[in-house]
């Protein structure tokens, strides 16, 4: 069944495009160190060359500043030999060039490298949050749908309440209070505001499945509850849970970018959101530096589109009416 | 004026699927007299619904009529421009659908759904249309105050009666009913059928009644058509068909309904399953399941309907008496 599902996913043209697109970004994230020409927060290149024998005392032999962006310092050390250290500073706010395909930012960091490294952070946060939200809502949905009774009442009520409290403002307020920095708090904030909608969808699916005869058969044969839930119901929820995973991941990537853009994330980390934050803070727009703020947005949209495409196919699998005839 | 209401001539129709074209109706011909009640029986997938939708020109986008003619009062519906079909539909021929539950729009009141059909075809005032609706509801024993009700406020049987009222509101001459009682309980089913009979006697329309329940059809039809795998395999007066089936499939179907009052005996139904219409078996399509099948039955083309005497038609080239062994029911006389 899972094999069938994956086969359908690959044979559908839309989802194949989506999967390829997503695969591309996953590869970029995985091989960021190989793809990116520089480290994301480097603003200079240092080269050290060996010149001569060690000397008795440490001294700087010569200092030369041939240009604004280059220092050449020759010094002797007592233990080793004589070195020449050349420091090439990256230009600030440079236009795209051969060395910097997407130019540099206000601090002289290479924007292309930042974009590549940012893929890793943004994708990780998105997929981790997606996983977290899916796991959380699947658990809640199974609990509430299968057990019913008071558990169901409480979870359903909470879901309905959280569903109408607007997510982004809540996220902003919570993020503003959080003093911890790092990836985990962001995943938690995005996850804890993202569970209600998938929970509601998944719960109604559990209810449908619970009423199906094969579940009743299973109970009348004497299966344990855990078997009924995990072997009878759960396998039938794979496609809808996958759809929710992709939808939640997309929401998380957008949410993360938004929080970072407002400055509520960790601005020292390099992600698509923080690139945009610094672009905005440094007036990239009004200096015409489109290479600074366009690429991250396009990347976000491409990842989002890949999720949407994959979900189109999942929808078509689970809803025959949408199928092209 | 001719006595023939509808003549179906060598109709071929089907629909495209991902796996290929399914010819759900294959070379079907019959004719229907004015005021006649024709029952068409067949199992799921035999093409009976496709036939109904083809006659109404309501086939969905992926379905089409390949060839053949549908002569309604002498005019062929197949090549007819859509505008003319629109003018005919509901005024001259109407349809009652399988599930009244889904055939009524949940957000419009019964009154609106009855009268909008009137307004679409006649220029009458709102009051006149409403008067017509009240009259029709009375015919199916529904109180006029139900005009303001919504579908969910009615029971299943009432909804189906509303559908009948809706189909008859413009006094059509032909009423096609596609499994109109399948989803209903026996008692409700019986009362609906009695109602249709009564209305037919009063209003004089013809009926094509499509169902899988042969036991029901035998009682109410003038003529019976039996469909199997897209083909009409037997056609003739209902009583004659019941007493002396000439096609082995008809016999098999008759043998699938235990008797309520007759002597109790073992019945065998039919072995096997209906063929896949994407790749129907060679020769007679029933041959793989037929208890009388001979090697020749599985060769060549599919036998067509041929007269078998007494105004009856059968698609089996071997008359009952000449078959390999005597039928269980065919000979003995069951009653």
């Amino acid at each position: 069944m899972i094999k069938d599902f994956l086969k359908t996913l690959v044979s559908n043209r839309k989802s194949l495009v989506g999967l390829c697109l997503l695969g591309f970004f996953v590869l970029v994230a995985a091989f960021a160190p190989l793809i990116a020409p520089y480290e994301p927060k480097i603003d200079r290149l240092e080269t050290v060359a060996e010149l001569g024998e060690p000397s008795l005392e440490e001294e700087i032999v010569s200092e030369d500043y041939p240009s604004d962006s280059r220092d050449v310092i020759v010094y002797r050390s007592t233990t080793t030999r004589e070195y020449e250290k050349t420091v090439d500073y990256f230009p600030l706010r440079a236009k795209p060039s051969a060395e910097h395909p997407l130019g540099t930012n206000h601090a002289g960091n290479d924007l292309f490298s930042q974009l590549v490294w940012g893929t890793r952070v943004s994708l990780t946060i998105g997929l981790m949050t997606g996983l977290f939200v899916t796991a959380l809502s699947l658990t809640l949905a199974l609990l509430s749908g299968y057990l019913g009774g008071v558990v169901d009442d409480v979870i359903t009520f909470l879901t309905n309440v959280m569903l109408v409290i607007p997510g982004l403002p809540l996220m902003i307020v919570v993020a503003a209070y959080v003093t911890m920095k790092g990836t985990l708090p962001i995943v938690l904030i995005l996850g804890l505001t993202g569970w209600p909608y998938p929970t509601r969808l998944l719960r109604s699916q559990v209810l449908t499945l619970k009423g199906r005869d094969f579940v009743r058969v299973s109970r009348s044969l004497g299966e344990r509850t855990s078997f009924v839930v995990f072997r009878e119901i759960l396998p039938n929820m794979i496609s809808i849970a996958m759809a929710e995973f992709f939808a939640s991941s997309m929401a998380a990537i957008l949410g993360e970018a938004t929080l970072e853009f407002i400055g509520l994330g960790n601005v020292t980390v390099v992600s698509w959101g923080t690139i945009l934050f610094w672009a905005q803070a440094n007036g990239a727009l009004l200096s015409g530096a489109w290479w600074w703020f366009l690429p991250p947005g396009i990347c976000i949209a491409l990842v989002g589109t890949s999720f949407v495409l994959i979900n189109f196919a999942i929808d078509e699998i689970s809803n025959p009416r949408l199928r092209k005839r | 004026m001719s006595d023939t209401m509808l003549e179906v001539r060598n109709l071929r129709a089907g629909y495209a699927t991902a796996k290929g074209f399914v010819r759900a109706v294959d070379d079907v011909s019959f004719s229907l007299r004015r005021g006649e009640f024709l029952g068409i029986a067949g199992e799921s997938g035999c093409g009976k619904s496709t036939l109904a939708y083809a006659i109404m020109r309501l086939l969905r986008d992926n379905a089409r009529v390949e060839s053949g003619g549908l002569l309604f009062k002498g005019r062929d519906l197949v090549p007819m421009p859509a505008a003319e079909v629109d003018a005919l539909r509901w005024t001259d021929m109407a349809m009652v659908f399988q599930s009244a539950m889904n055939a009524l729009n949940p957000v419009l009141s019964i009154g609106e759904q009855l009268t909008d059909a009137v307004h679409a075809h006649r220029s009458v005032s709102r009051d006149e249309a409403e008067a017509m609706a009240v009259e029709m509801l009375a015919l199916v024993d529904i109180n006029a105050d139900r005009l303001r009700s919504y579908p969910h406020q009615l029971s299943g049987g009432m909804k189906q009666r509303v559908m009948i009222a809706m189909a008859l509101i413009l006094k059509p001459e032909l009423l096609i009913m596609d499994e109109p009682t399948t989803a209903l309980d026996v008692v409700v089913q019986r009362s609906i059928i009695e109602k249709i009979e009564e209305l037919r006697r009063r209003l004089g329309f013809s009926v094509i009644f499509i169902t899988h329940d042969l036991s029901l059809l035998v009682e109410i039809s003038d003529s019976l058509g039996i469909m199997y795998a897209g083909r009409l395999v037997e056609y003739g007066p209902a009583a004659a068909l019941f007493n002396e089936p000439r096609h082995p499939y008809t016999e098999g179907l008759m043998n699938s309904f235990p008797s309520l009052t007759g002597p109790l005996r073992r019945m065998d139904g039919i072995e096997g399953r209906t063929p896949d219409l994407l790749s129907p078996p060679p020769g007679c399509r029933y041959a793989p399941r037929c208890r009388y099948a001979r090697p020749a039955c599985s060769e060549g083309g599919c036998p067509g309907l041929a007269p078998s005497g007494e105004g009856r038609l059968s698609a089996c080239p071997y008359p009952m008496g000449g078959r390999a062994d005597g039928g269980v029911a065919g000979e003995g006389g069951r009653l």
């Binding site: 982004l168 911890m180 938004t258 945009l276 009004l286 990842v303 | 309501l58 419009l108």
Partner: protein, 326 residues
């Protein structure tokens, strides 16, 4: 009626939860943000310090439950505390200035986007075999993936910076006399880009929802019946197809509305549009917690009320809901 009361109950309870969240959030956070803030801001004036203390309940030794009671009472009276970044203006006063801009911008955009998206969705489903329909659907599912704020940036770059067709930010021109024709014109010109951002970003969701609903409805038997009855296409499309298809859309208003409002907030931030979104941005940057909380509360209330209105609309449109049959 039963339905109405149930929804009213849910509204009241959700309001209560939002208000309580507002009170408990800062008290639940690990690492005590209040102390951290106080330590960081040593150069604040004593009155401002008091404001912060009051906001976090550090000015009193009362147990939390008593503070909570006082907070609920104050909130009910409309007393939301004092902003400390704009000390000593009460929060409610700050919000009063910002509100009309936001309500004008986002309210209008939501209505435009919902109606336009619904209409396009209907058309896209009705002619779903055409190239135009699939192109529209494809285009908007792509656009939907852009973050609102980024689309805003792009609009500023192209239309304000490059083409200089629109101002880059703000809500009105300071040169024109307030209330005059020129001023209103400037309001329109300033509002155009933010409005376009919100509408373009949110349109896709409405189109796709409506299209899918429509496609589901078009497969229903009652559509076939309507065709067979020979009803005018316009009536089939509106009273048979769209009226049924729009019901889940209106119910789904809840989720989407929160999303659109959220997007609207960020759009305001990008355009420095003086509504509550921009104010929230300033409050966040200044760590003005009372103002931030009040804004959150206000947005929550607005969304809740809009949702309630949507529920009432469903009740009017759907006889089954009216009878409590669904």
């Amino acid at each position: 009626m039963k339905y109405f009361l149930r929804k009213l109950g849910l509204l009241a309870f959700t309001l209560f939860v939002s208000v309580s969240l507002n009170f408990f959030l800062p008290r639940m956070m690990p690492g005590d943000p209040a102390r951290a803030l106080l330590d960081k801001m040593e150069n604040l004036q004593p009155e401002q310090l008091d404001t912060i203390r009051a906001a976090f309940g550090l000015d009193t030794d009362d147990p939390v439950i008593v503070q909570y009671g006082r907070y609920l009472r104050n909130t009910l009276r409309g007393d939301l505390g004092t902003s400390f970044s704009r000390f000593p203006t009460p929060v409610s006063e700050v919000m009063r200035v910002a509100l009309p801009w936001s309500i004008g911008l986002m309210g209008l955009c939501t209505i435009i986007s919902f109606s336009l998206g619904t209409l396009i969705g209907i058309a896209a489903a009705w002619r779903r075999e055409t190239k135009l329909a699939s192109a529209t659907v494809g285009f908007f599912s792509f656009v939907r993936s852009f973050p609102y704020f980024w689309l805003g940036l792009v609009f500023i770059y192209f239309f304000a910076f490059r083409l200089r067709a629109f101002p880059i930010g703000g809500a009105y021109s300071v040169d024109a006399a307030r209330g005059g024709a020129a001023w209103w014109l400037s309001v329109l010109r300033h509002g155009a880009l933010p409005a376009a951002t919100i509408v373009v970003s949110s349109l896709g969701a409405w189109i796709l929802t409506m299209r899918n609903n429509m496609i589901n409805v078009l497969a229903e038997d009652y559509i076939t019946v309507a065709m067979a009855k020979g009803l005018p296409i316009r009536r089939i499309k509106s009273m048979y197809a769209a009226k049924n298809a729009i019901l889940p859309s209106v119910t789904g208003f809840a989720m989407s509305l929160g999303f659109v409002i959220g997007g609207g907030l960020v759009t305001e931030m990008v355009f420095a549009y003086p509504g509550i979104g921009y104010m929230l941005y300033q409050a966040v940057n200044a760590k003005d917690y009372p103002l931030m909380q009040a804004i959150f509360l206000f947005i929550a209330v607005a969304v809740l009320i809009a949702n309630f209105a949507a529920d009432v609309a469903v009740m009017i449109l759907d006889p089954r809901v009216r009878d409590g049959a669904k």
